[in-house]
């Protein structure tokens, strides 16, 4: 395990309690054509309360699988997944999920989409309305509260999904490459906005990405997963204080460092694909 030697500010004290725990977790899937693929193999991971962890790895390394397991959308074959020491059995509103697609309901306008999540929490109508508008304004969608999702751009839709997740004030936010489908400029804007919002809310965050720069920009800790079957190979603690700058030299150093590790894993994936 490596640590980047810059310790100006450490946001998450080492002794913060574990919010999420994965212990000896494995998960395989059956192929449509028969045979099984091990997506995640014997993973141990602890995410501390208030920590921003990015899961990084080559495609097919099982990072999304691990996220789905934390979300409770999938069940592990072996091992256990815990939130605050309790076993994760099913999805729940304590763990909001941001998908790669915004996953807004097309029959509801933006405001109703956010309110729906709050209704599921059992909040009274007036509090739902207040919180919804607060968060829509927070992500600069106040003027689009009554728009239908399809009337928004891809970036705005993902913002609405972010507002929906944050409005629930979840203990944990799980994000599965939420910006991967956006164009480069929009992605950068949303990354900055996410950093800004998260600096205030400080939810425990697990963020899956294959983008090294994005991971180093956002995370307290970048966890690198191996070529399939996915296990954790290295982790990098990123201590550059926030607000961070994309062009920060210190960050760039970390990016180079992580890239070196990542390309080894990517090479393995490519080699395996050519062999097949």
């Amino acid at each position: 395990m490596r640590t980047v030697p810059d310790l100006r500010t450490v946001h998450v004290p080492e002794e913060a309690p574990a919010k999420l725990t994965a212990r000896g977790v494995s998960k395989s899937f059956r192929h449509a054509r028969g045979g099984t693929v091990t997506a995640v193999h014997d993973v141990d991971l602890e995410v501390r309360a208030g920590e921003f962890v990015c899961l990084l790895g080559p495609s097919g390394c099982g990072k999304s699988t691990l996220l789905n397991l934390f979300a409770g959308l999938d069940r592990p074959d072996t091992g256990e997944l815990l939130i605050d020491g309790r076993s994760i059995e099913a999805p729940g509103p304590d763990r909001a999920v941001l998908f790669q697609e915004p996953a807004l309901f097309p029959w509801m306008n933006v405001r109703d989409n956010v309110e729906f999540a709050l209704e599921m929490l059992g909040l009274p109508k007036d509090e739902r309305e207040d919180r919804t508008m607060h968060w829509l304004h927070r992500v600069h969608l106040g003027r689009f509260a009554k728009a239908q999702p399809h009337e928004l751009s891809g970036g705005m839709r993902q913002r609405a999904a972010l507002a929906r997740a944050l409005a629930c004030q979840p203990e944990v936010l799980l994000a599965d490459e939420p910006f991967a489908a956006l164009d480069a400029q929009t992605r950068e804007i949303l990354q900055r906005e996410l950093q800004e919002v998260w600096s205030e809310t400080r939810n425990t965050f697990v963020f899956v990405t294959h983008n090294v720069r994005e991971a180093t920009f956002l995370a307290d800790r970048v966890v690198l997963m191996s070529a399939p079957p996915g296990t954790l190979v290295t982790e990098h603690r990123i201590t550059v204080p926030r607000p961070r700058d994309m062009e920060d030299v210190l960050l760039s150093k970390v990016v180079v460092d992580i890239h070196a590790h990542l390309s080894k894993e990517v090479d393995k994936v490519v080699a395996a694909e050519i062999d097949r």
């Binding site: 979300a71 999805p91 998908f99 097309p106 029959w107 729906f116």
Partner: protein, 267 residues
């Protein structure tokens, strides 16, 4: 202004087609090639339509009364058929087992034209209103159930996952996420059910004239017996108008729903 112009450009080909047909019809009719009992001129048909519209012409009822009787049968029959079809469809969508078992039954039923149920319905219910209704209902059930089941099974898994992560479970998930997401496919099923029901109803009324002699199908048959060709044409026009009106209503509902969801293809 431009809106008006675009409405006009939408409208004129339709008007031209209708006027062209009427003109051709009128020409053939006045040519004397056919007798007016075989092919009356459109002017006679329009006269008959106006005369018989609200005024009963014993032993025949008025077109309005016939329309009313038929539409009530259609509405009641479809209401029952849609309710039953939706329930069957939801059962089919519940598991792959019910989908295979109940689903194959429905696929078989759908291959059977609903009017072919009429002889059996007469045996079961006699020459009654219920026999005709039965045919409408039995025609709607497979169409609605198959559309319900497939639209539920085609709901994007992502939306269901999103609903689950927000804490929606079981009945709430079903009612607030899965059913609304299935609406576009369901509406298609309703459209199909009504079209099948309307056809089956007309055929049923035509064949089963002893049910109190009400309805547009009866009116067709009564006018045939009296050799009132213009009146036959007039009733056919009315059947077409009802069909077009319902079609237009469905179209408007469907367009509105698709527009809201961003599913409209721009043409």
């Amino acid at each position: 202004m431009s809106r008006l112009r675009s409405t006009a450009s939408q409208l004129w080909p339709r008007v031209a087609a209708i006027l062209g047909l009427l003109l051709l019809w009128q020409l053939v009719a006045v040519s004397g090639f056919f007798t007016s009992t075989v092919l009356p001129p459109p002017s006679d048909v329009i006269d008959s339509f106006i005369q018989n519209f609200a005024q009963p012409n014993p032993p025949r009822e008025s077109i309005v009364a016939g329309t009313q009787a038929s539409v009530i049968r259609l509405v009641v029959g479809l209401a029952v058929g849609i309710a039953a079809g939706t329930a069957v469809g939801a059962t089919m969508a519940a598991s792959s087992y019910t989908h295979r078992s109940v689903g194959s039954l429905m696929a078989g039923l759908q291959a059977l034209p609903s009017i072919s149920w009429l002889p059996l319905a007469i045996l079961w219910f006699g020459y009654t209103e219920r026999a005709v209704m039965f045919v409408v209902i039995i025609g709607a059930i497979p169409a609605v159930s198959i559309a319900t089941a497939s639209s539920i099974r085609l709901v994007p898994p992502l939306l269901v996952r999103a609903g689950r992560t927000m804490g929606a479970r079981r009945w709430t998930l079903y009612r607030r996420v899965i059913l609304p997401a299935a609406v576009p496919g369901y509406i298609l099923g309703l459209q199909q059910a009504w079209a099948l029901g309307w056809r089956a109803l007309m055929a049923g009324e035509l064949l089963l004239t002893a049910t109190g002699g009400k309805g547009l199908g009866h009116l067709l048959e009564a006018n045939r017996q009296l050799q009132q060709t213009p009146a036959i044409f007039a009733v056919m026009l009315m059947i077409m108008f009802v069909g077009m009106a319902v079609e237009a209503t469905f179209g408007a509902v469907d367009r509105r729903m698709r527009g809201r969801r961003g599913l409209l293809v721009q043409t």
